[in-house]
């Protein structure tokens, strides 16, 4: 059974068709990266999977649950790290996580919060207001927020954007540990290096269509970069 099943999904905004008949299957525990140029429809697809947008046609299921009919149950299974941190600047790190823990009805929230803070290395900053955090710290807290309720599927929308080298390496470690804990991960990025280093499978989205899908095993950076540029320059 697929964990994420996207079947013939199309989406238009007004006259502009952003996604054209997309079909994508992601197995449980798999780390898949969706790569493509700006405006190719990556974020729109991710937002549809995250239940934030409805497709015009097609069907999306997560762990067998249809997004249209079981959106509450699906949202319990999903963790999303987006362009924005979705955090409150005037709350502390702990208060932000407490807010989300209550929304997700997490029973043992105190333990769970300290566990995720530890995982993203922010335990010592838990009582500090988020507005004083660096971008890297905010991004790590955003990941803590996304994994707080122990979701089976985690969606990352360009998580490396704006991070310096150190924070980027740190983020890679967190992403890898998230993936090895058995979560299914779908990441969007522009960065081919990160895509190849972290994921099991890679898919290229171009002009609203999936134009390439394949395993990253035995795929070298040069080979894929050449292929990718060939695809998007057609």
């Amino acid at each position: 059974m697929c964990m994420i099943n996207v079947k013939s999904v199309s989406k238009s905004f007004g006259m502009k068709q952003v996604l054209k008949n997309i079909t994508l299957n992601i197995a449980p525990g798999e780390f898949t990266t969706l790569i493509g140029p700006n405006g190719s429809g990556k974020t729109t697809l991710l937002r549809i999977i995250a239940t934030l947008l409805r497709p015009n046609s097609g069907q999306v299921t997560i762990a067998g649950l249809d997004l249209n009919t079981s959106s509450h149950a699906v949202r319990q299974l999903l963790g999303v790290v987006s362009h924005h941190t979705l955090l409150y600047d005037n709350l502390t790190a702990y208060e932000n996580l407490l807010f989300y823990a209550r929304l997700y009805s997490i029973k043992d929230y105190a333990n769970r919060i300290s566990m995720v803070l530890d995982k993203v290395d922010l335990t010592e900053s838990k009582d500090i207001l988020v507005r004083t955090f660096s971008h890297g710290m905010q991004q790590r807290l955003s990941i803590a927020r996304a994994i707080l309720h122990n979701p089976r599927v985690i969606l990352f929308d360009e998580p490396h954007t704006g991070l310096d080298q150190n924070n980027s390496v740190r983020l890679d470690q967190i992403l890898q540990s998230t993936s090895t804990s058995g979560n299914t991960v779908l990441m969007i990025t522009h960065d081919i290096k990160h895509a190849l280093a972290l994921s099991d499978k890679i898919a290229v989205l171009h002009k609203g269509e999936v134009v390439y899908q394949g395993s990253t095993a035995q795929l070298s950076f040069d080979e894929f970069a050449h292929k990718y540029h060939e695809i998007i320059n057609v």
């Binding site: 937002r47 934030l52 319990q76 979705l86 955090l87 005037n90």
Partner: protein, 233 residues
């Protein structure tokens, strides 16, 4: 009779509502910008009306209730414009939309926290009016109409703020959308307040009073039925 599943859903719903109120109040306690801005604005409006117009006692008595409601309406609109401001900077509204809660809990939570801020302002403005205008504003029926009128205005305002927050000119958009829709409750509240303070009997203002209650009930229903659709893209 609730079964376990319904009970869990209901308790989850109210937990989400309480959490949203807790979050809004915690942020306001820390920032102290919204309530202080509302208070300064209300005090300024009241003082301008009191001292800029050189009125005799009877004219003052006639316009006092109107001025009071203008103060409430303007300051509430200012507050309503900030209803979703905390959610704007990091798009945290999306964080709530991603969580497995009934979206109307977001509306109810946001409405209650805004209503609390409006009531805080009213608690300060009403005694100030009493001092400046010398009108006995502490009749229970008058205070009830203030609460019911503000309830309806804040209710519609919160609903429209959720639409306006997604538009580019949201701070201009909210008053433009809100004032025409809220006109019936503003007029009925002013009529009721005037009648109560002038000692009119129930029959003289019962229609206006009932209109306020019906407006509150209708818009509570409309808000709960439509918020789900309004908040999603």
């Amino acid at each position: 009779m609730y079964n376990n599943n319904q009970y869990t859903k209901t308790s989850q719903y109210w937990r989400a509502v309480r959490t949203i109120i807790w979050k809004d109040l915690s942020i306001e306690m820390r920032k102290k910008t919204l309530v202080s801005a509302l208070l300064i604005f209300s005090v300024m409006v009241t003082l301008v009306f009191t001292f800029a117009l050189d009125l005799d006692k009877s004219t003052k008595d006639n316009i006092a209730v109107g001025v009071l409601w203008v103060t409430f309406v303007f300051s509430s609109t200012l507050g309503l414009n900030q209803t979703f401001a905390n959610e704007k900077s990091q798009n945290s509204l999306e964080g709530m939309l991603l969580s497995p809660i009934d979206y109307t809990a977001i509306f109810v939570g946001k409405f209650i926290s805004t209503y609390i801020f409006v009531i805080i302002v009213e608690i300060i403005v009403v005694p100030m009016f009493y001092i400046l205008y010398g009108i006995p504003l502490f009749s229970p029926l008058f205070l009830l109409i203030v609460l019911l009128g503000s309830f309806g205005y804040t209710l519609v305002g919160t609903l429209l703020a959720s639409i306006a927050t997604r538009t580019r000119a949201r701070e201009i958009m909210l008053p433009i959308l809100l004032l025409p829709v809220a006109m019936p409750i503003i007029i009925a509240s002013v009529q009721c307040s005037n009648a109560i303070l002038s000692g009119a009997h129930w029959g003289q203002f019962s229609n206006a009073f009932n209109l306020v209650i019906v407006y509150d009930i209708i818009f509570l229903g409309v808000a709960i039925m439509t918020f789900d659709y309004l908040i999603q893209e």
